[in-house]
């Protein structure tokens, strides 16, 4: 996994609330067996007409807005557990998603792919939307070490919460799986001592 330390970028605003993972990547695009290429179908039905032409009123089709940060309304990523949603957002080129509230499974999937979910207060989220509305080139700075997010050329800054273990993983580019594999002896001992009857399947 890629390391995440500091990100300075302009941002793409998507103020809709309750954006579910079926919007981020519709199920009919989940038939691939690799992790690559999902960015092409990110927000597919909001981005394109059924004939494949672009919907000009959707934010990703507006050249004024670009950058490596997606800023979205509250309860982002609800619904299906499909990790393809996090893959699509990362594959499109985003490195972080900012919202005032994330659905649990999406947040976990994002963290497992080096895509940083940054939870801010509703009022700070509105300040970001206002800053981008006033100037699409307004930059954001996300500092993972300090757990801070600031709006460039202003004094606006907020500190965000972060699971200490996941912070170490992101700063160093570690995967959960590396850690779990290092625990195999402890896991085997746990299995021997576990009082729960296993009755394996086959």
């Amino acid at each position: 996994m890629e390391k995440f330390t500091l990100l300075q970028s302009t941002a793409v605003p998507l103020p809709n609330e309750d954006i579910d993972t079926d919007q981020i990547i519709p199920a009919r695009f989940l038939k691939a067996t690799t992790r690559e290429g999902f960015g092409d179908n990110l927000f597919r039905d909001w981005r394109y007409h059924p004939d494949g032409s672009q919907k000009s009123d959707f934010i990703l089709n507006n050249p004024i807005y670009k950058g490596a940060i997606l800023v979205a309304g509250r309860n982002f990523g609800c619904g299906s557990s499909r990790e393809h949603a996090a893959w699509a957002i990362a594959d499109y080129g985003f490195k972080a998603v900012v919202s005032s509230f994330f659905a649990d499974i999406f947040k976990g999937n994002a963290l497992n792919n080096g895509l940083l979910p940054v939870t801010v207060s509703d009022s700070f989220l509105n300040k970001i939307f206002e800053a981008i509305e006033n100037d699409p080139n307004a930059g954001l700075e996300i500092n993972l070490e300090n757990q801070s997010i600031s709006i460039s050329n202003s004094s606006e800054v907020e500190y965000f919460e972060m699971d200490p273990y996941k912070k170490i993983c992101l700063l160093n580019g570690y995967d959960d799986i590396d850690f779990l594999l290092s625990q195999k002896t402890i896991i085997s001992t746990f299995e021997k001592n576990n009082r729960y009857p296993f009755n394996p399947i086959n």
Partner: protein
């Protein structure tokens, strides 16, 4: 210290604790399917590591499979490739597969319980958000992403922070025509689509205890629709009776011994929850959804409300515009074009018997396309042995073969744009059942009534 059901199962499965309190949590049962597993197996291959505990992972093909002619090769090339990949991976890594053509194939959350793989006190995960279904047996069961599927395959463990805990009590007797599906749609309409986020929910109270195991599965299944990590219900005699005799359940003396352990699991009397809600069964009527998330639901005799939160106005208006509905409108008498009865929420025998009982001797409205998709090959076989398939066919319903089908529109079973579908599934998101499709979530009974009448009616007055 007094413990909850959740605490007891959690504590029994913590292998180790790391930085910041994150637990290495042991996983008893792992279900996989064709859509969220191929990249996980690729991960194992690139690290050149095996599946750590093959006997604790069970596979089936359900999400993208066709629901007709399952004996023939899959005609859609990408679906076929994905299902073939699952067969190849299960074969290579030694994982049991109940694939297409197997008498145990079906929707992953239907086959686990019916085979007795799901048992009280277990930790169960699957790369599917409706894994919460298994919580009906008194399990910690939750959906995971593909990276986590790989972690469980590699180590039989996951890194997890302990969630907060919520208890939802439902008390009293349900009205005629009101089912478990109405109860959970009612709860979600009160708590909203994000009201459970960060929590694991225990459902309790006399209404919940009086539900069958199948009704309890419907309740737990939709926990994720209010954002909860999962939902669970204390195991009781009903639970033990359901598990007893199932293929993979403990047998004879081992069963009795296990039951005595299961009886220690229910929440202690003085245990505390981070938050608790109580609802009255008498307040619940048949439910319908009117918007594009499962929290946008109401009693069928109510009218679509005005948006409560002005800040949410744009999302609310966008949702109603997608649905072709407006605030203040009632759905009673609303003409519909499609009915889908199926999904991991409502495709079990109890659901299909209820539908058969209602449609027997009746005929669906001529303009309605009505589809019934059983949850598994075992459900399908039981339907046929009881002659219910003939009742469905005589009433004009299309009785198909098992799979996730029109719940998520991955296979050919899609609803056309701008048409209304009364669906027993779990999500009314934009485009969920096909691009532009308009989904109205209801119970199987309400869906059957909509098919017969060609419009939405209040089944409790029927």
């Amino acid at each position: 210290m007094a413990k909850t059901l959740f605490d007891k199962i959690w504590d029994n499965h913590v292998v180790n604790t790391v930085e910041g309190g994150t637990a290495v949590l042991y996983i008893d049962r792992h279900f996989i399917h064709e859509v969220t597993s191929p990249q996980a197996f690729d991960g194992l291959a690139s690290r050149n590591i095996p599946v750590f505990r093959t006997a604790q992972t069970i596979a089936t093909a359900d999400h993208n499979v066709p629901t007709v002619n399952q004996h023939l090769p899959i005609s859609e090339p990408l679906s076929k490739f994905q299902v073939d990949k699952l067969i190849e991976n299960c074969d290579k890594y030694g994982v049991s597969l109940y694939g297409l053509g197997h008498p145990y194939q079906g929707i992953v959350h239907v086959i686990g319980p019916e085979l007795g793989i799901t048992q009280p006190g277990m930790t169960i995960v699957c790369g599917d958000s409706h894994t919460s279904t298994h919580g009906a047996f008194g399990c910690i069961a939750f959906g995971i992403g593909t990276s986590q599927v790989e972690q469980v395959l590699a180590s039989q463990c996951l890194l997890q922070l302990k969630p907060k805990q919520m208890r939802i009590n439902v008390e009293g007797t349900l009205h005629q025509g009101v089912t478990a599906k109405d109860v959970i749609l009612y709860i979600i309409s009160k708590l909203t689509t994000s009201g459970g986020t960060g929590y694991f929910v225990e459902y309790a109270g006399s209404t919940i205890r009086n539900l069958s195991m199948e009704g309890r599965m419907t309740i737990c299944n939709m926990s994720i629709e209010m954002g909860a990590k999962g939902g669970l219900i204390a195991p009781d005699e009903k639970t033990f009776d359901y598990v007893n005799g199932k293929k993979y359940a403990p047998k004879n003396a081992a069963f009795d011994q296990t039951v005595s352990y299961w009886k220690t699991l229910p929440t202690d009397e003085n245990a505390s929850f981070d938050v608790e809600f109580t609802f009255q069964a008498s307040d619940i009527t048949p439910m319908v959804t009117y918007g594009t998330n499962p929290g946008m639901g109401m009693g069928v005799r109510q009218s679509i409300p005005q948006p409560l939160d002005p800040a949410n106005r744009n999302s609310f208006d966008k949702s109603l515009s997608y649905m072709g509905l407006h605030a203040g409108e009632s759905l009673l008498g609303k003409e519909i074009q499609h009915v889908f009865i199926g999904s991991c929420t409502n495709s079990r025998m109890e659901d299909l018997r209820l539908v058969a009982d209602y449609v027997k001797g009746k005929q669906k409205a001529a303009h309605v396309k009505a589809m019934i998709v059983p949850g598994s090959k075992q459900v399908e076989a039981q339907v046929i042995s009881e002659g219910l398939d003939l009742i469905f066919k005589t009433a004009g319903f299309d009785f198909r073969e098992p799979g996730c089908s029109a719940c998520l529109g991955m296979n050919e079973d899609k609803i056309p744009a701008n048409e209304y579908c009364v669906s027993t599934s779990n999500r009314n998101f934009e485009g969920r059942q096909g691009p532009g499709a308009r989904t109205i979530l209801t119970s199987p009974l309400m869906a059957a009534a909509a098919a017969i009448n060609g419009k939405i009616i209040d089944v409790s007055l029927d």
